[in-house]
């Protein structure tokens, strides 16, 4: 295990140091005092463990493929955006657009997530232990979004095939979001997910929300829905 500090260093230098340590063969790196710098660990494409001992800024773990990134603090906007694979864990809260457009892997937020978490996800799993802000899951294409707490306004709006689960309240669903009945397989998947990621919050029952598929194709009979969605 290697250790490094961000003190007095710009993002570019920090990321270069991470890459240098990885090239030297260190599989686990502890990064001290990230001080909410933006763009940390962007584009790391090899299996490794990166532990940030503090909060990080925008796009931490953006476009990664493979690493396990752990943030012992909170994260700014666009956490792990466009990630291909790997795991990003935030012990605190996450800013807007957490896990935006991820294509695989998992993003685990133990605190709350702000607006538009899991926006346009194309695969993978997003797990939020707390609550999430408005428009989470917007235009979700594939993958799974799990919110153990309450979902904000316009949840799961205009989705394709993303499947959402909410443990708390989901009073304000977005356009074309419909409530479905969780299957036995869903229940098993969720309880295993909780255990695997050490979620402490106890959820009695998850609601399942999927796309009603009314916005998948233009249809004049659905004018009312389209007038909001177009």
């Amino acid at each position: 295990m290697a250790s490094m500090t961000c003190d007095g260093r710009p993002t570019r230098e920090i990321n270069a140091e991470i890459k240098r340590l990885l090239a030297e063969g260190h599989a686990e790196i502890v990064v001290k005092n990230p001080a909410a710098r933006h763009n940390l660990a962007v584009g790391v494409v090899q299996p490794c463990t990166l532990i940030f001992e503090g909060s990080v800024g925008y796009y931490c773990g953006g476009m990664i493929d493979g690493p396990h990134v752990e943030i012992k603090g909170s994260a700014g906007w666009g956490l792990a955006e466009s990630m291909m694979n790997g795991r990003v864990v935030v012990h605190g809260n996450a800013g807007n657009a957490a896990a935006a457009a991820i294509r695989g892997g998992s993003v685990i937020i133990h605190g709350d997530a702000a607006a538009r978490a899991g926006i346009a996800i194309k695969g993978g799993v997003v797990l939020i232990e707390g609550n999430c802000g408005y428009m989470a899951g917007f235009m979700g294409q594939k993958g799974v979004l799990v919110v153990c707490g309450d979902a904000g306004e316009a949840f799961a709006d205009s989705m394709y095939e993303t499947i959402c689960f909410v443990g708390g309240r989901a009073d304000d669903l977005g356009n074309d979001a419909v409530v479905a009945t969780p299957t036995d397989a869903d229940v098993t998947f969720l309880s295993e997910l909780m255990v695997r990621h050490g979620v402490k919050k106890h959820v009695k029952e998850f609601k399942k929300i999927v796309s009603g598929r009314k916005l998948w194709n233009f249809d004049k009979r659905e004018w009312k829905t389209w007038s909001e969605a177009l």
């Binding site: 993002t11 570019r12 990321n15 933006h38 763009n39 962007v42 584009g43 494409v45 800024g57 925008y58 796009y59 953006g62 476009m63 990664i64 493929d65 906007w77 666009g78 955006e81 466009s82 291909m84 807007n96 657009a97 935006a100 457009a101 294509r103 538009r116 926006i119 346009a120 194309k122 695969g123 917007f138 235009m139 294409q141 594939k142 394709y160 095939e161 998948w216 194709n217 233009f218 004049k220 009979r221 004018w223 389209w226 177009l230």
Partner: protein, 448 residues
């Protein structure tokens, strides 16, 4: 005139086109969507409102055969790996999805043959296009379809797309007939959906966030390749400065004449400003912040030939993107397979039916049978020829104006035919010595 002859009166307001439009919407129950770009009569000033003033006695022209006129074009000159092109005409981003595999591959091959570049599009990278291109620009769009760090890293430049000239402020569209299982797989979508892309990026909103986004793209590509920012032409003077402030190496401005695979018709016709005005505002913006010549400017939108390109370059563009013209080199609107144009309710030279996925010449389709009508190698040859011809057109104009580098063309080489063009470009009206209005530098006039 016989007694029976009648004079047909046509409403100037409710023209046959307007009546047809109303009735089509009465049937559809939504706005109309189509491909191609603006179709209505161009009442605004265009590059046709300008003429070149070649050398006579005040200046000395260059000889075509002997005297060199460089066309080498460098974008992102300050980057570790700038984009070096042999010619200033590049192939713009058109998605694999809007375009067929054959069309994408032919464009890549054609551009590579003449030392130019091509750009991915709203659907991610097609491996064949990377394999065949010399220089590939990778677009990062709001939809993030097919976004892939490994593809990003293979690119010679990254284009962060904020919008397009045909439909600024809105997202992409790909109607279900084109969302084939292959395209759906590439975009992580269910096959056959009428796909709408978001208008905004999922993870940033304004220009201040974009500064961080651009830094992210640099981190992802080890600070090597140029970062472009592409926008539809609206408030160009301000938008260009914001993109410059955000750290773009290259700024792409796409005028309202710009093409599209499918968009709401009203946006194509009634939003944005013309390419001629866009290039003038863009140049003025860069001059205003002292970055003209440091940040490169690419202009797109309705560029038809080397003349339009040369005029845009004289007004301030470093390079030109072509889309529709390149599709025409692939045979768009050519009078072949006429029956298939008719089946779409149109005819060669009038087709704008890219949105249907039934392109008679195999360009904007995902139908394997139609695609066969576009043999890649022959099509690539035609693309290369068009790029060569356009470059020669620019060179002959540049030489006649006494320039040994096409990038030396300047506003002084132009005169305006119309008052409006004079005002927009800040170029004297023919027959006068007067510049009517500001043109490039209008902001300076305003503040002095």
């Amino acid at each position: 005139m016989s007694d029976n002859a009648r004079v047909l009166k046509t409403s100037g307001t409710f023209t046959p086109e307007v009546i047809e439009d109303i009735q089509a919407k009465a049937d559809l129950g939504r706005y109309r969507i189509r491909g191609f770009g603006a179709l209505r009569e161009r009442r605004w000033p265009t590059f046709d409102d300008l003429t070149f003033l070649p050398c006579t006695l005040t200046r000395i022209p260059l000889e075509g055969y002997r005297e060199k006129c460089s066309t080498k074009t460098v974008l992102g000159a300050g980057c570790a790996k700038p984009i070096e092109l042999d010619i200033p005409i590049m192939i713009t981003g058109m998605s694999w999805g809007a375009l067929s595999f054959n069309a994408k591959t032919a464009l890549a091959k054609g551009a590579a043959k003449v030392g130019s570049s091509n750009t991915t599009g709203d659907g991610g990278m097609l491996q064949a296009e990377r394999d065949h291109s010399k220089m590939l620009i990778y677009e990062v769009l709001p939809s993030r379809y097919g976004i892939n760090i490994h593809h990003l890293r293979q690119a010679d430049g990254i284009e962060l797309t904020i919008g397009q000239g045909a439909k600024p402020g809105t997202g992409g569209l790909l109607l279900g007939s084109k969302v084939s299982p292959t395209i759906a797989g590439q975009r992580d979508l269910p096959a056959g959906v009428d796909q709408r892309s978001p208008a905004r990026h999922p993870d940033f909103l304004g220009p201040d966030d974009m500064i961080i986004k651009i830094e992210e793209l640099r981190e992802a590509t080890d600070h090597k390749v140029p970062i472009f920012v592409k926008m539809g032409a609206t408030r160009v003077f301000d938008d260009v400065k914001l993109a410059a402030k955000a750290g773009a190496d290259v700024i792409v401005v796409d005028g309202m004449e710009g093409g599209t695979g499918a968009s709401p018709e009203i946006l194509q016709e009634h939003t944005g400003i013309p390419t001629l005005a866009a290039v003038c505002e863009a140049r003025a913006a860069l001059e205003d912040v002292g970055l003209y010549g440091k940040i490169q400017l690419i202009i797109a939108g309705g560029i038809r030939n080397g003349v339009d390109a040369a005029k845009a370059m004289a007004l301030g563009a470093d390079a030109i993107y072509i889309g529709t013209a390149a599709l025409m080199a692939l045979n768009c609107n050519k009078p072949v397979f006429v029956e298939d144009y008719k089946a779409l309710g149109t005819e060669p030279y009038h087709c704008h039916h890219c949105h249907t996925g039934r392109c008679p010449v195999g360009i904007t389709t995902q139908d394997p049978e139609l695609m066969k009508r576009l043999p890649i190698d022959e099509a690539a040859e035609r693309v290369a020829n068009l790029l060569k011809a356009m470059t020669l057109e620019i060179q002959i104009l540049a030489r006649s104006c006494g320039k040994s580098d096409v990038h030396d063309l300047e506003p002084e080489d132009l005169r305006a035919f119309s008052l409006e063009a004079s005002m927009i470009c800040g170029i004297p009206l023919v027959g006068t010595r007067h510049v009517f209005g500001g043109g490039p530098g209008w902001k300076k006039e305003e503040t002095h």
